[in-house]
Symmetry: C3
Subunit: 145 residues, 3 copies
């Protein structure tokens, strides 16, 4: 009988733990999806936002989801207004755990070969569906920079 | 005694189920609020985003909440830059389960009769309060397209 | 034995309560983070959005997080396009429970003394990290007005 009660108590405790998990953790990892659908001229400031985010919260998990003109900085040879390639900055941030995702609908609509996408970036079927999925299924916060 | 323990175990299991529901469901329905407060020139791309979203995730529930200039495409006879009426596209998307909501504060401030709003759209007291409510109370993800 | 079972039932009930808390509350307080990184010309409409939000949902908790050009209206003597100072409107909204936060990274980068920030606003290390933290840790909804 005691074994039954002990087992039940364990299940209770587990239920309690799951129910209160978000509240009970001292410093849970913050996960944030950056939604980018604006052209290269807006991207240096966005990458700077991400660097500042990581400086303030080094444990944060950041995923940058791009579609429309937002994918442009993740194409090979893409440059900012000062003629500097984005690939170095993207590679640096990838090394810090940031992930970059590119919308396949945009590639198809604009007839861009997947070969032109930087190897650090991952292609997803739909940028907007990915932004929603990260929030709804994986618990990501959202930022439109 | 066994009945007591069984009852307790059932309550435990129920507690566990509720606590872990978000994590445990295999493929929960993703709900997404699209926040639109920009004028008609931005809307064809937004409606295309929604079509792509549904193509990638046909089970997704999408609610478009509009205020300010964002309500304009939901007024009768509203046209895009090529002179095409929005009503057909709105009707098509409504048929696929998309909902459209219009901010009553905007109608009042701009002195627009509710009669001018497309019948597919629902009027809500405040667009911004609705966007927040959908996230906080109904578990919607957020997108600013 | 009954005491053991009663204790277990209590733990069960507690677990159940925690697990279902978000669903069970009749009208939970909605918390909303407004993310502002645009200059003063956009701010009168944003403050109006917040007033409308509170009119529709007087219990809502609203926190305005600013960075980049978004901090400008929270500096002393900042004026809108009609030459009206923002400080009165900020003070009014603060009196209704709205909080304003300013990104310290922006202050440092732009070499702005913290003394110039309105006393109603609180300085946070990073605006973007704060926006993500409010959502992930404190359960805030997100709005990009």
């Amino acid at each position: 009988m005691y074994r039954f009660i002990t087992a039940c108590a364990l299940v209770c405790a587990t239920g309690l733990g799951l129910g209160g998990a978000a509240q009970a953790q001292g410093t849970p990892q913050v996960k944030a999806a950056y939604h980018v659908n604006t052209d290269v001229n807006t991207v240096p400031a966005i990458l700077n936002n991400i660097r500042n985010h990581l400086a303030a919260d080094p444990k944060a998990k950041i995923v940058v989801v791009t579609h429309g003109p937002g994918i442009n900085f993740l194409l090979q040879d893409a440059k900012d207004g000062q003629g500097r390639e984005f690939s170095g900055a993207v590679s640096d941030l990838t090394g810090k755990g940031v992930e970059f995702r590119v919308c396949n609908n945009t590639l198809v609509t604009r007839n861009i070969s997947p070969d032109r996408v930087l190897m650090e970036a991952k292609i997803v079927p739909s940028g907007v569906a990915e932004v929603a999925r990260l929030q709804a299924v994986e618990g990501f916060a959202y930022l439109k920079p």
